[in-house]
């Protein structure tokens, strides 16, 4: 199962992801025209001043998704295969139960349509727009297993080097 993973230590807070997201979800899919469409946010770069860090916050498509569990109309559903939490705007009534239980606060409010708005993980794209746009690779898109395997490599190498050095 592929996920969008965040590496806040690499984020420089440039908001390229936010812009790419807005363009991708605009009618025109054009940067300049998209801005005039007053796009609604699905991704939020949060600044955390006490740690001088920026953290891109977007839907985690949780496996045990609270928003799906509480939705009274069935507007939020989870794809059994991909785990993507989908939002059906036609059934949504804008009661905001989902928004009030979301642990990450990433379900927004589409003020024109008066319904919820959230990350749909760019169904028309191979790689989500935010990930493609990130200049520092703070956002990556990959299999969770692969990513953690890659993470294990560095400490394993360090450990091996340490053992080798001390037994020499």
């Amino acid at each position: 199962m592929k996920e969008i993973l965040v590496r806040p230590e690499r984020c420089v807070g440039c908001r390229s992801c936010e812009i790419a997201c807005a363009v991708e979800h605009s009618q025109s899919r054009d940067l300049l025209k998209a801005l005039s469409e007053m796009p609604q946010r699905r991704l939020y770069v949060e600044h955390v001043p006490e740690y001088s860090l920026a953290v891109p916050m977007l839907c985690r498509h949780c496996e045990d998704a609270p928003c799906v569990a509480v939705c009274p109309t069935g507007a939020l559903t989870q794809d059994a295969l991909t785990g993507v939490v989908r939002h059906n705007r036609d059934i949504c009534i804008g009661c905001w139960t989902c928004a009030s239980v979301c642990t990450y606060g990433v379900i927004g409010r589409d003020r024109r349509a008066r319904v919820a708005i959230k990350c749909d993980r760019c169904p028309d794209r191979e790689v989500p727009a935010c990930v493609s746009a990130c200049p520092t690779r703070a956002l990556i898109y990959g299999e969770v297993e692969e990513v953690s395997r890659a993470r294990r490599a560095a400490p394993a190498l360090k450990f091996a080097q340490g053992v080798a050095a001390s037994s020499r």
């Binding site: 806040p8 955390v48 916050m57 009534i93 905001w96 928004a99 642990t103 606060g105 409010r109």
Partner: protein, 144 residues
């Protein structure tokens, strides 16, 4: 004006909101459901942004006004469509319709809630503070 939001982890199931609402309106418009005695959830009108109750109301007795659903009892025919349409069961029907009017802006259920489980807030403020708290937790992990 804000709407009523629930932090279910704070609710202790004391039913103070129910008793206060009943005192204010004669008939409670909020009710607390205990789930297997291991959690409690107040169920109430969410003043939904698309308002299914107002959408089905053919007399215009219930209609969306800004962020809130308003009710004109004079136009109501007690047809019960709103009662059917509400996914929360927050509308009750006997000789009149019982539904939340946010007590004109200062809901007693929110004011009386001992644990601040019910809050009168703008949803963007709630999600915003949740988001910055979650971001803070993540940032703390990175910097330690």
């Amino acid at each position: 004006m804000g709407k009523i939001y629930l932090d279910p982890e704070r609710c202790i199931g004391c039913r103070s909101c129910e008793v206060a609402c009943e005192r204010e309106h004669g008939h409670p418009r909020i009710s607390v459901d205990k789930v297997k005695d291991l959690a409690a959830v107040p169920v109430y009108c969410h003043q939904c942004d698309t308002a299914p109750c107002a959408a089905v109301c053919y007399t215009g007795s219930l209609r969306l006004d800004g962020d809130m659903v308003v009710f004109d009892p004079d136009l109501c025919t007690l047809c019960g469509l709103c009662f059917v349409a509400c996914p929360f069961g927050a509308i009750e029907l006997d000789s009149v319709i019982h539904r939340c009017d946010l007590c004109g802006g200062t809901p007693v259920c929110v004011m009386t809630c001992p644990t601040e489980a019910l809050q009168l807030e703008d949803i963007d403020a709630i999600t915003g503070s949740t988001r910055s708290r979650a971001a803070g937790v993540l940032a703390a992990r990175v910097r330690v």
